[in-house]
């Protein structure tokens, strides 16, 4: 028996290797509506990416004046008028949720337009391909160049291309650094060699990955590395618009000579223009497939050909499965944009937007966090009074030293004392000092007399008041007894 198995193993190994080499894709240049849209998107997105770190925003002295800055060493993130503390990382969570839901929503409506138009991988690959085309020529010339033997011309073109790619990659990685360091400070430092190992390390990392992913890996990133194509089909249904070859119109495909009759055949003349322009190297006529990023360049290519053979445009276009079936049977088109799926995505999106807007609008420059002591939960004093301890953290988000007023609300007959300030007045209002732009920690005791029966947990609020602005921060906590 074992011999049989071994034989079959050898057999199957011979038939198919476990590994396949990449088949290089040579996308052909194309011009059309969708290509125009893609260039416009590219210019806008890259513009934002490269220019944003240079925008300034005056926040007064002792604060960075960069409009968009994530200051890791000081644990602060600046977005225009907003200054986010690590404690407010939920804003980041909200942004990520909005990003995910936005992608779900758009995908359920229009398919993979994120992949095709706005994904950084697509945008930079487009840019790198443009450079490649400038230097090495279009599809046919590039294929010829790669097949040709060594020559000075080939050496010159290849090195020019890679030099240009590396320059773009360094600019890209450099721009990324500027979101984490002050652009006006770090750029001169990078240039004169004083920026430090971290900056150069990350610069090398981001430049290297840009060069590798946009120059070499390209469609391999989408097919093998990215998880999004693997589950985006979960957002698709029969009403989702996707780049589609209208096979009911195109088949039977076949070569067509000028003057031949169109009777009894499809509109597809099998010119393979759609395949030649595809950056993923696939044939859209095989139907919906994982590799298709929905960039729509095949639509431009096919439309050009249709114009040339005097047939209506749109043999390939954005279309839904439902319309495919309707058209194939000669019924009118129907578009369903409002569907349970899109309503749910849009509703959750709106709710999160609302929560974040509420959070931003009610955001104050002072915050108080209260931690009830666990060891011990409460202490019985000599006269039978019950005392609870609290660790109070005061977040002073302003640029000035502040003296806050701490009091409590919802607890009668209690007396308050602050550890280290035992001598201060006993009017149940403590004065807590907090240095500018920092957190101050205090330990506070609350004591209630023995006559007062303390429930197992009595809820009340600590109230912190900014005496200059009147801003108030509350934090609910409990007083516990036996």
């Amino acid at each position: 028996m074992t011999d049989v198995y071994a034989d079959q193993e050898t057999q199957s190994r011979k038939e198919q290797s476990l590994y396949a080499s990449r088949v290089k894709v040579y996308p052909k240049k194309i011009w059309g509506q969708i290509r125009k849209l893609k260039w416009a998107t590219l210019v806008v997105l890259l513009g934002i990416y490269y220019i944003a770190p240079w925008l300034r925003w005056d926040r007064g002295p002792n604060a960075p004046d960069q409009a968009f800055l994530i200051d890791m060493p000081h644990r602060r993130a600046y977005f225009l008028w907003l200054e986010i503390w690590p404690q407010e990382v939920y804003f980041l969570v909200g942004l990520l949720l909005l990003g995910a839901l936005g992608m779900f929503f758009v995908t359920s409506l229009f398919g993979r337009i994120w992949c095709g138009y706005t994904c950084p991988q697509t945008v930079w690959t487009d840019l790198f391909m443009w450079v490649e085309r400038l230097i090495e020529g279009d599809r046919a010339q590039r294929i010829r160049l790669d097949k040709s033997g060594f020559s000075l011309g080939k050496l010159w073109r290849k090195s020019a291309k890679h030099t240009a790619w590396v320059v773009i990659a360094i600019l890209t990685g450099g721009a990324w650094i500027m979101y984490f360091n002050d652009a006006q400070t770090v750029v001169p430092q990078i240039l004169n060699g004083t920026a430090g190992i971290k900056v150069y390390g990350f610069l090398a990392l981001f430049s290297g990955t840009t060069y590798l992913l946009a120059g070499w890996a390209r469609e391999q990133v989408c097919i093998y590395m990215c998880p999004w194509p693997r589950f985006q089909s979960a957002m698709y249904d029969e009403d989702t618009l996707a780049v589609t070859y209208r096979d009911w119109r195109g088949e039977q495909r076949g070569k067509h000579k000028k003057g031949d009759s169109w009777e009894g055949r499809g509109d597809c003349i099998d010119c393979r223009a759609c395949v030649a322009v595809c950056p993923m190297g696939i044939d859209i006529r095989d139907g919906m497939q994982l590799e298709c990023i929905g960039c729509g360049l095949c639509i431009d290519a096919c439309n050009q050909i249709m114009d040339r053979v005097d047939l209506p445009r749109g043999l390939i276009g954005y279309d839904s499965q439902r319309n495919q079936d309707l058209q194939a049977t000669g019924k009118p088109l129907r578009f369903h944009f409002i569907r349970p799926r899109t309503i749910v995505y849009a509703t959750i999106f709106a709710v999160i937007c609302g929560i974040m807007a509420w959070g931003l609008l009610t955001r104050t420059t002072v915050e108080v966090n209260v931690l009830h002591d666990r060891n011990p939960v409460f202490v019985t004093l000599a006269d039978g009074s019950i005392r609870n301890g609290y660790t109070i953290r005061v977040l002073n988000k302003t640029r000035d030293e502040k003296v806050y007023k701490l009091s409590f609300d919802g607890l009668a007959y209690a007396t308050m004392s602050v550890v280290g300030q035992e001598n201060s007045s006993a009017d149940n209002i403590a004065r807590l000092t907090a240095a500018p732009n920092s957190v101050a920690t205090y330990h506070v005791f609350l004591t209630v007399p023995p006559e007062l029966e303390v429930d197992e947990a009595h809820a009340f609020d600590f109230v912190l008041t900014d005496r200059d602005t009147g801003a108030v921060a509350h934090h609910e906590t409990v007083l516990r007894g036996p």
Partner: protein, 284 residues
């Protein structure tokens, strides 16, 4: 039986195996993926050479062990300023100085968790037989000086300056009989309004005056200089029921605390003193 087949729908070869009607496509992996795996393995060896993962060997790039040692040394250096301050100040000065107070509280908390919490509980919460350090009652005094002495010399140990007190075994040694012990226990409870038998309590008052006042003080208010606990408050080290009190009078238990002088350095004991004073019982 495993025979290589081709999947009709996709035209891709299958692995040949079939699991209850399911077959698996045998799509080839991209070759660069394989090379990436090899590159990662190679990188592992290079990395191990430059940053050795074995203790005792240092490579060209500092390991996290070396970085840690450096950071610990740097932290020690930073702490030295504060430690010097603590060594050259007395405990009251430390408590009055914002920076030293914060440093001493943090250092004291760490030392307390390691050395004191096993008996006194985290946060000095105490336990039956182990005094709470968070309430406002002190057996040996709650001023900074008192706390400092107690930590340094301990209680009922071999240190010549150790705090020492011992309650007579009134029951075991036959000083009082069972009825008298019940009476005096009732009297003690009556001081906080919890007597079970008012007549017994009345009888017990005389016994208390004769036997107990010397250490527990007039009106049972306690006598700190002798370590005699107050009996007229809500704090009970060995329990507050009649049975608990009878048991303690009959056959008293005594806790022992080691002297920390010599075990901990003086700066650490000062920090501990400051920390204990923040737990809630601090007396001016």
């Amino acid at each position: 039986m495993a025979t290589p087949k081709t999947d009709e729908l996709t035209g891709v070869a299958t692995t040949g195996h079939e699991w209850d009607g399911l077959t698996e496509l045998n799509n080839p992996l991209p070759r660069w993926w394989l090379y990436t795996l090899y590159a990662c393995i190679a990188f592992g060896f290079v990395y191990a050479f430059f940053v050795p993962p074995f203790p005792g060997v240092e490579g060209i790039i500092p390991t996290t062990r070396a970085v840690l040692a450096e950071q610990v040394a740097a932290a020690r250096e930073d702490q030295a300023v504060f430690l010097n301050g603590i060594e050259s100040s007395d405990v009251a000065q430390i408590r009055g100085d914002g920076e030293l107070f914060a440093f001493a509280t943090a250092g004291g908390a760490a030392t307390f968790a390691e050395n004191c919490a096993p008996c006194h509980g985290a946060g000095g919460a105490g336990a039956p037989g182990y005094p709470s350090l968070a309430d406002d009652v002190w057996l040996w005094g709650g001023t900074l000086e008192d706390i400092h002495t107690t930590i340094g010399h301990g209680i009922r140990n071999d240190d010549p300056d150790s705090r020492f007190s011992e309650m007579l075994a009134f029951g075991r040694d036959g000083i009082l009989n069972g009825g008298q012990i019940g009476d005096v226990a009732n009297y003690v409870l009556s001081l906080t309004g919890k007597a079970e038998d008012p007549e017994a309590a009345a009888r017990g008052q005389e016994i208390f005056a004769e036997n107990c006042v010397a250490c527990h003080g007039e009106n049972a208010g306690g006598e700190q200089s002798l370590g005699g606990p107050a009996l007229n408050d809500a704090i009970w080290l060995y329990g507050s029921t009649l049975a608990d009190i009878r048991a303690q009078v009959t056959n008293p238990r005594h806790g022992v605390m080691p002297a920390w002088n010599g075990r901990l350095d003086e700066a650490t004991i000062k920090m501990l003193t400051v920390y204990v004073s923040t737990l809630g019982g601090y007396k001016e």
